[in-house]
Symmetry: C2
Subunit: 334 residues, 2 copies
């Protein structure tokens, strides 16, 4: 039924070793016979079996990608960067959603390893000892994508979330705001949650503003939670004049909450966030945000992984990509 390398060999009147050579572009084949083999391949409609090849060569040219949620625009953009570079280096990717749930993450890491992926790209929540444990059971290279581990022992590529948040809040402060609220994520989330919150606090301190816990609400990164948080701020006896959101989507929720209550952005409230997803320019007023290069994070981490897989020596195993604040219309001066 299925035509194998052996069939091709017989058809071409050569050995399977030779067929293997031409299929793998080994130069040690006379052009003459190479041609014969190609013709036989064509005639028989031979298609190499990558699984057999993987077993024999111990290389599958596929990498595993564990991602929190592919339907989240941010991660989807990272994934696109990963896939583009993977494709460029002739790797395929096995994609697994893990929703930042530790057990699910551990589980998919293991099945990915069973599938003998040549490398692993991990995008998730906190990197715990259990993760490290799971990583250690294999000897394929791993790179953390849009996350970091505390000890910094694993290669990773990300932005400096703390600094990004700091810069966002600073631009608010520079505009004269002194009462700045924050809509954050759970502190369990090291990057989007904890670090961005730390950046917020540091920005306040640096400028001599006092931190007020009534001015921070924790959301779940979704639009609705941004609106809810904003509602809370609007109900405060003394309202802040600006809000920093850990993500675009919550920021947009906040903007609409403000508008739905008859107030205006940026006249009555300034809002800024971190992300700069495509949605940022798809709202009115357009959202000012600290840009996080999602696509590049994916692309660079995949590129790093290819190097690791080829056992090339990499100088920089922990890369921090730059962020930048892009001002649009949602921030005004006080």
């Amino acid at each position: 039924m299925t035509v194998t390398i052996y069939d091709v060999a017989r058809e071409a009147g050569v050995s399977m070793a030779t067929v293997s050579r031409v299929v793998n572009n080994n130069p040690n084949v006379k052009p003459q016979t190479r041609k014969k083999v190609f013709e036989a391949i064509e005639r028989l409609g031979y298609r190499p079996n990558a699984v057999a090849r993987g077993l024999a060569s111990k290389k599958t040219t596929t990498v595993g990608v564990v991602i929190p949620d592919i339907s989240n625009a941010i991660f989807a953009e990272v994934a696109r960067g990963i896939e583009d570079i993977a494709n460029m280096y002739h790797y395929n990717i096995i994609l697994c959603n893990a929703d930042k749930k530790k057990d699910k993450e551990i589980r998919v890491i293991n099945t990915l390893l069973e599938k003998q992926v040549d490398g692993l790209l991990f995008m998730g929540g906190a990197v715990t000892d259990e993760h490290l444990q799971a990583f250690r059971t294999s000897n394929v290279p791993i790179v953390l994508c849009a996350t970091t581990d505390e000890n910094g022992t694993i290669p990773s590529v990300d932005i400096d979330h703390e600094a990004a948040a700091f810069d966002a809040v600073q631009t608010l402060i520079k505009q004269g705001h002194t009462s700045i609220a924050m809509i954050g994520g759970t502190l369990q989330d090291p990057a989007n949650g904890y670090s961005r919150f730390q950046g917020y606090k540091r920005a306040l301190e640096t400028s001599g503003l006092t931190y007020d816990e009534n001015l921070v609400r924790i959301g779940n990164y979704r639009y609705e939670s941004g609106a809810e948080a904003m509602k809370h701020f609007l109900d405060l006896p003394v309202r802040p004049t600006a809000v920093f959101s850990a993500t675009d989507e919550m920021a947009i929720g906040a903007i609409h909450c403000i508008q739905d209550n008859g107030l205006r952005v940026p006249d009555d409230f300034s809002v800024i966030s971190v992300d700069n997803s495509r949605m940022a320019s798809m709202v009115r007023p357009q959202l000012s945000a600290v840009a996080q290069p999602m696509y590049d994070i994916g692309a660079v981490s995949m590129r790093l992984l290819t190097k690791l897989m080829k056992k090339e020596t990499v100088e920089q195993a922990k890369v921090v990509l730059p962020h930048e604040v892009v001002m649009r219309q949602s921030v005004g001066s006080k």
Copy 2:
């Protein structure tokens, strides 16, 4: 270095066949020895090699997914549906972006087939003879996801795009609009382009309205192209009063174009689209749209594929999921 089934067998004092049985949950193993084997597995840290298993069993428990662009919210949502169900049935997915480019599609289909996927989910542009050709070279089941082939020979799951567009335009007509513009996609695109355009025309005809080609613009599904198209309509000597957009994103572009020109939605213009992505409720005014069940399309197509892979007989190989118009705030009466 790597511990194999043979090592486990020796450690447990049984044959490799027995180890294979317990690993595969074959009931024909005495609980006694099953326990011994599990202990040996634990002690040695054995991890089954899925590649070897795949070669021996001719099943890889992975399916290939060709998708136009994972960074597009619509497709990402479909992908999530696919992955969830795949995961439920213990399949993994290899994800390949193909940008609706025919050659790229053909190419990834072939590499997916080389990787011996157990099934293929195809999401793309038109299904040409070349595609059929490529599909035919393998005997794994294929299902078209959010697309259909003309002859209807391949299993597929999608909505009725023509009817969805028809319904969208009809709701505009019911509100008293008689001059309705359309922002569409390229007619080369069978689902989002051609079919939705056909639905638009039929709705006009059905209601005795005349089709005016000056009232239709072709966009590229992105926000900016929606705005540009709308700009064109605004510049017309006699403006339409409503616009139907083939996608949410272009509709939002149109809304903002209207607003940026000092006009109002729905007071001056009504707008409706097909998709109903999460963004629809993240604009002001909130977008009315015909809902297309993206997640379900993915989930159902994956479910269908699992049946096909198990060689279960499926009664309905061409499933058309229902759509529904959800009215929000962007449509008003004339």
